[in-house]
């Protein structure tokens, strides 16, 4: 039966599939992750972003939304130069978080 409208498959949020355990793990192991407001300052000054389509803000967003696999793929582009630590207005310890995400790649 059709009512003239339907829910598009890709607009659906399937909370059963949402797995934010990695996000919670990061918050616990590096509490400064909670401070991130996704302002994007880290991405704007990023050296690696000039050679690659890379944004640390996006990685953090992906993790928060449960897309752990995409995030761990994305993080490989990082150089760990540390510009984001210095520029972060919220004092997020980004390099520790990046290492943690990279170590997650290892465990797979």
């Amino acid at each position: 039966m059709k009512f003239g409208f339907e829910i598009l498959k890709d607009r659906q949020i399937d909370f059963d599939k949402l797995d934010r355990s990695f996000s919670f793990y990061l918050r616990e192991s590096e509490p400064s992750f909670r401070l991130c407001i996704f302002c994007g300052t880290c991405a704007s000054g990023c050296s690696a972003a000039k050679f690659d389509n890379f944004s640390l803000k996006n990685v953090f967003l992906l993790i928060n939304r449960g897309f752990t696999e995409q995030a761990t793929d994305e993080i490989k582009k990082c150089w760990l130069c540390g510009k984001c630590v210095l520029s972060c207005p919220r004092g997020v310890n980004t390099r520790q978080l990046i290492l943690k995400i990279m170590q997650k790649t290892d465990n797979k």
């Binding site: 000054g45 050296s47 510009k83 390099r95 990279m102």
Partner: protein, 607 residues
């Protein structure tokens, strides 16, 4: 033949430790690289052996470096080490008087006062021996009592904290504490009955013998003395006291030019075992002294390396400032072990080489590489551009728009292959400009350029470069009427040993004041890229503490030569934090402009 069953614990312990150590030395020697074995053989009959013996005498026995750091601690160590050494040597000589045979059993000199009960003097100088042996025993006993006091009241030694121990260390520690009191008791009681002691044992013996019967107490004390020696020897290989034999081997290996790079684990063991866990590195660590985080210091980290226990916190919670290696009386390079553990902790991820599209640069004589951190402190970059332009050098900005990281931050994180991919890309960029000299503003880059890049051209920090420009009279400047203190960045100071050029330059343009924490005693700003696990509050404590210790508040300017330090200090310093390049650029301005700047700085100070 003199024999009594009580010598057995000592004898068994001694045989065990000698066999164990001979096997160890053979194992270490076998694991040397072939070139190192050749070097070793060539060096044995050269002056290097004498230098090694001299170093063993001064460091392993006299503990000269510990004396320099803390005289009381130095006395404690050297009274036990050197005192015991002399006690063995002189005891052996003395035993020859009574039993002049070349084949004395090894326990004979140790228990001489029991085996030689006669009070007759063989030679006229036998009394001198007795006096010296008693004096040495007294000196060792003062050292042992200091050691006991230190364990419970470290503050008396002006140490904030002494190293905490595990049971495997505690057994030989308590045995060591007991050896000499038991020796004193054994010799005194026997002296009381046989009158064969010196000034100490005779007088104590006459008191003790008045209420302690000869049987069984004389033998009992010798039993206790022998057992404590035996326990000490048998538990030695698994405790920190393994440093006693290892340090000697370490000093010899080092003098013979053996490379203790992390690749050769069997040889590295010599260096790791040489750590005596004296705890001198604990107080010097800023993570301990400023941020109050304990149990990650070099002492504890090296114990983890030795026991092959990986601890994430110990491995990653370190700024790699190098203050611990700098003060270490044994001279252990701790940073390389942290690095190799970091490499093991991470899986290596490569960066695809095609990612870096490098546009060839114009050719120039001098290449200026600002570095990532300098791009975050644009004032340094602008000052350098001004200086380079005014000097009339033929120069090019290597990373003006799309800078590539030098790779050192990734290397410090343990991601070696990532660092290598970055290095290769940057090498290509540098090669494209065909420069004859590379100048960088960042000590972090400088360190890796010099150590890992293997460039054929000279690489200098801008402070060295500007100093040369001024010497060549290529810059016009006038002295600033401001006072400053200079902060040595870790990577440039302890890392590369560049101390004099920045100072020489600063003396020319500004009034430079000395302070206590400079050169190899310089403090870390707390922002080091090697640090991963410090919280913001802990970093703040380290930065503020460093500022306070350098007495920055009385100065107009805090001068540094690292953009990273500048950025970290500027957050908490009340006064202006400037890079050397900025100060020189300031000095290059006209008198009127300078006056204006000085006024601004002093107004800021009043506010």
């Amino acid at each position: 033949m003199h024999f009594h069953p009580f010598v057995l614990p000592f004898l068994l312990g001694l045989i065990f430790i000698v066999v164990f150590f001979v096997v160890k030395i053979i194992y270490w020697y076998q694991n040397l690289l072939i070139e190192e074995k050749i070097k070793f053989k060539q060096s044995v009959f050269t002056v290097k052996t004498w230098l090694a013996i001299k170093e063993v005498f001064f460091e392993s026995l006299l503990h000269r470096k510990v004396f320099k750091i803390n005289p009381l601690l130095g006395y404690m160590h050297s009274s036990i080490a050197f005192g015991w050494f002399l006690l063995i040597v002189i005891g052996n000589l003395e035993s020859r008087l009574y039993h002049p045979s070349d084949l004395n059993p090894p326990y004979y000199p140790i228990f001489l006062s029991y085996f030689d009960k006669s009070s007759h003097e063989v030679y006229w100088f036998a009394g001198i021996f007795k006096f010296v042996m008693n004096l040495l025993l007294l000196i060792i006993l003062t050292g042992v009592s200091l050691a006991v006091i230190k364990r419970f009241y470290a503050k008396l030694f002006s140490m904030k904290k002494t190293s905490s121990l595990k049971w495997s260390d505690k057994i030989p520690l308590y045995a060591l504490w007991l050896i000499f009191p038991f020796r004193l008791l054994a010799e005194s009681v026997s002296a009381g009955y046989y009158h064969n002691g010196g000034f100490l044992t005779n007088s104590l013996g006459s008191v003790l013998s008045s209420f302690i019967p000869e049987y069984p107490f004389v033998e009992m004390f010798y039993w206790l003395y022998s057992i404590s020696l035996g326990i000490f020897f048998i538990s030695l290989p698994w405790s920190r006291y393994m440093h006693i034999p290892s340090e000697v081997v370490f000093i010899f290996f080092r003098n013979y030019g053996v490379d203790f790079s992390p690749a050769n684990k069997a040889v590295n063991e010599v260096e790791v075992l040489s750590c005596s866990r004296c705890g001198i590195c604990i107080d010097t660590c800023q993570i301990m002294s400023s941020a109050r985080v304990n149990h990650i210091q070099a002492v504890y980290f090296l114990r983890g390396v030795r026991e092959k226990k990986y601890d994430e916190n110990k491995t990653f919670n370190c700024l790699m400032c190098g203050r611990c290696s700098n003060i270490c009386p044994v001279g252990i390079d701790v940073n390389k072990y942290r690095l190799s553990q970091r490499i093991e902790a991470n899986m290596q991820i490569d960066l695809p080489a095609d990612k870096f599209k490098i546009n060839p640069l114009e050719k120039a004589k001098v290449g200026y590489f600002a570095g990532c951190m300098t791009h975050l402190t644009p004032s340094v970059k602008e000052a350098m551009i001004q200086i380079l332009n005014q000097s009339g050098s033929n120069w090019i900005f290597l990373d003006e728009k799309s800078g590539i990281c030098c790779g050192r931050p990734a290397k410090l994180a343990g991601l070696t292959s990532k660092a290598v991919s970055l290095q290769n890309a940057l090498k290509e960029l540098i090669a494209s400009a065909e420069i004859q000299q590379l100048v960088t503003s960042c000590p972090i880059c400088l360190k890796t350029f010099r150590e890992d890049y293997k460039l054929s051209i000279p690489v200098d920090h801008h402070s060295v470069f500007i100093n040369q420009l001024i010497k060549d009279k290529k810059l016009i400047y006038s002295r600033l009427n401001l006072n400053a203190v200079y902060h040595d960045p870790c990577e440039m100071g302890r890392g590369l040993g560049i101390y004099d050029e920045p100072r020489e330059l600063l003396y020319k343009v500004i009034q430079l004041r000395n302070h206590q924490y400079e050169k190899d005693n310089a403090l870390c700003c707390g922002g080091s890229l090697a640090g991963f696990r410090l919280t913001n509050q802990e970093k703040e404590l380290i930065t503020k503490d460093a500022l306070e210790k350098m007495n920055v508040a009385d100065m107009n300017i805090l001068a540094t030569s690292c953009p990273m330090c500048k950025k970290t200090f500027a957050r908490y310093a009340g006064n202006k934090v400037s890079d050397i390049a900025e100060i020189v650029a300031m000095a290059m301005k006209t008198k009127e402009e300078q006056k204006h700047i000085s006024e601004q700085i002093s107004i800021k100070e009043l506010l």
